[in-house]
Each structure stands twice: as structure tokens, then as C-alpha cells.
């Protein structure tokens, strides 16, 4: 594996993603945890750029860093005044052991090629553009049914969130 821009980018984004993730689960202040979450999600957006999916990277920044992180920030601010949580964790040791065991199992499955060898090179030509994705989303042979269902789901989630979070008195 030679040292070029892609490799360096991969390691930088790995550090961002995993460091941000560790910051999310270890920080005591949840507001800082939200910032770490943004760092981690930005690293994931960088992966999407490396994997030649720039549209997904833009959506990642817009939806995750722009919308979901702000939503979580609001939730943290709305619920923090009476947070009498002294300890961060519950069941720390079993959780750590369980997630470490899961990681080892996954790493075993990844590095040992049970299902045959992995491709080490990317597919050489990518003719996929955002236009192709848009065509596939409304194509009868493509993803038109999941696309419509996703629209219904988003509408239902929006109405449901407004209904659930509404103040009863007002």
C-alpha cells in the first residue's frame, strides 16, 4: 500500500471518525459529546468522498451535521437543567466486554476470508452520477416504491414528532 493522497486521507478520516466516536461515548458533558458526534460524522462524509460518492457526502453534511446534530443540541439544552445524573455509565464492564467481543468477532470475520478473497482494488470505472441516482429513484425498475415509502415515512415521522412533543396545555 503506497503512500498517496487517498491513503493519507483514509487515515485522517479514520482518526476523525473513531476519535469522534470515542469522544461521543466517553465525554461527561453531553454538549461536548454533540461536537464530537459532528467530528465523527464529518469523518464519515470524508469516507464517502474517498469512495467516490460525493452526493452522499454532501447529504451527510447537510442532514447529519446540519440537521440531526442541531436537533440533538436542542434536546441536550432542553433537558439539561435538572439532569441529576452523577455517573455517566451503567453496566460499564459488561457493556465494554460485550462490545469488545463483538468487535473481535467482526474483525475475525473481516480479516479471515471465509467467503472468498476480497477485491483489493476499486472498480475501475464509475460512471455513476447524481443524475443516475435521481433517474434510478423514479425508475419503475429501480427504487420508486422505496422512494415513495420513504416520503410517506418522513411525513409520518414529522407529524408524529410534532404531535408527541407538543405541549398539552397550550
Amino acid at each position: 500500500m503506497e503512500l498517496n493522497a487517498v491513503t493519507i486521507g483514509f487515515f485522517v478520516f479514520s482518526i476523525l471518525t473513531l476519535g469522534g466516536g470515542i469522544g461521543v461515548v466517553t465525554t461527561r458533558n453531553l454538549f461536548q459529546g454533540t461536537i464530537w458526534l459532528m467530528v465523527s460524522l464529518f469523518g464519515v462524509a470524508g469516507y464517502f468522498v474517498l469512495l467516490s460518492a460525493p452526493f452522499l457526502a454532501a447529504v451527510q453534511v447537510l442532514v447529519y451535521i446540519g440537521a440531526i446534530a442541531i436537533l440533538i443540541t436542542f434536546a441536550v439544552m432542553l433537558t439539561r437543567s435538572v439532569t441529576r445524573i452523577n455517573e455517566r455509565y451503567i453496566r460499564t464492564i459488561p457493556s465494554f466486554v460485550a462490545s469488545l467481543a463483538l468487535f473481535l468477532v467482526l474483525l475475525f470475520g473481516i480479516t479471515v476470508p471465509i467467503f472468498g478473497d476480497y477485491p483489493t482494488e476499486m472498480a475501475p470505472t464509475v460512471v455513476m452520477t447524481t443524475r443516475d441516482l435521481g433517474v434510478a429513484l423514479v425508475d419503475g425498475n429501480g427504487y420508486v416504491v422505496p422512494f415513495l415509502l420513504a416520503s410517506v415515512l418522513l411525513t409520518a415521522a414529522m407529524i408524529g414528532a410534532i404531535f408527541i412533543a407538543r405541549d398539552e396545555e397550550s
Binding site: 447529504v59 440533538i72 463483538l102 467482526l106 476480497y118 472498480a123 414528532a161
Partner: protein, 105 residues
């Protein structure tokens, strides 16, 4: 070029960090943040598999389109989840999931 298994390894590590956060944090908002990490790990896997497999025709977009749908699901999940957390907090003055036990027998 970075081989495929390194992407998968990073995604597995991110997923397990998310699992640890979901299992161990006491604050419900922190649990939701762990779920977001897990969803992002899955997204990395989907895009990496898509990129390293044969991509030639426009309709072979499975990984790409699945990632877009996972993003949609994640947005809906965050909105509804945070609405539930805020409602529970308003009613019980607590964001600890163990204390929301009205439905317990």
C-alpha cells in the same frame, strides 16, 4: 489504494463504539447518539461494498440507494426519538431510561 477490509475494520470499530454507548450510557440523548454512530458505520459498509464491486450500469446502484434510504430512516428516527425524550422529560423530569417505568407491571 486502500483495500476493502480496512474500510470494513473501521466501520466495525465505529459500530462497536456505538454499541458500547448504547449499552452503557445513562442519558437517553447519549444513547440516541450511539445509535447514530451505529447507523453511520453501516453506511460506510454499504458504500464501500458498492464501490469495490462491479459498478457499471446506472441501475446497479444498490449500495448508493440503500445509503440514501438509511439516511432517511436515521433522520426520522432522530426526530421521533428526541420528541419522545423531550416528552418523557417534561412528564417525569428525567432523561434516564430506567426511570421511565410507568408501563412496568
Amino acid at each position: 489504494m486502500v483495500p476493502l477490509w480496512m474500510y470494513l475494520a473501521v466501520a466495525a470499530a465505529l459500530f462497536c463504539i456505538g454499541v458500547f454507548g448504547v449499552l452503557s450510557r445513562r442519558n437517553a440523548v447519549a444513547i440516541l447518539m450511539g445509535v447514530e454512530l451505529m447507523l453511520n458505520a453501516v453506511n460506510i459498509n454499504l458504500v464501500a461494498f458498492w464501490r469495490y464491486s462491479e459498478t457499471g450500469t446506472p441501475l446497479l446502484l444498490s449500495g448508493y440507494a440503500f445509503t440514501a434510504f438509511v439516511l432517511i430512516i436515521a433522520a426520522a428516527e432522530a426526530a421521533v426519538g428526541l420528541a419522545i425524550i423531550i416528552t418523557v422529560y417534561r412528564n417525569r423530569r428525567s432523561v434516564i431510561p430506567e426511570e421511565a417505568d410507568t408501563l412496568k407491571g
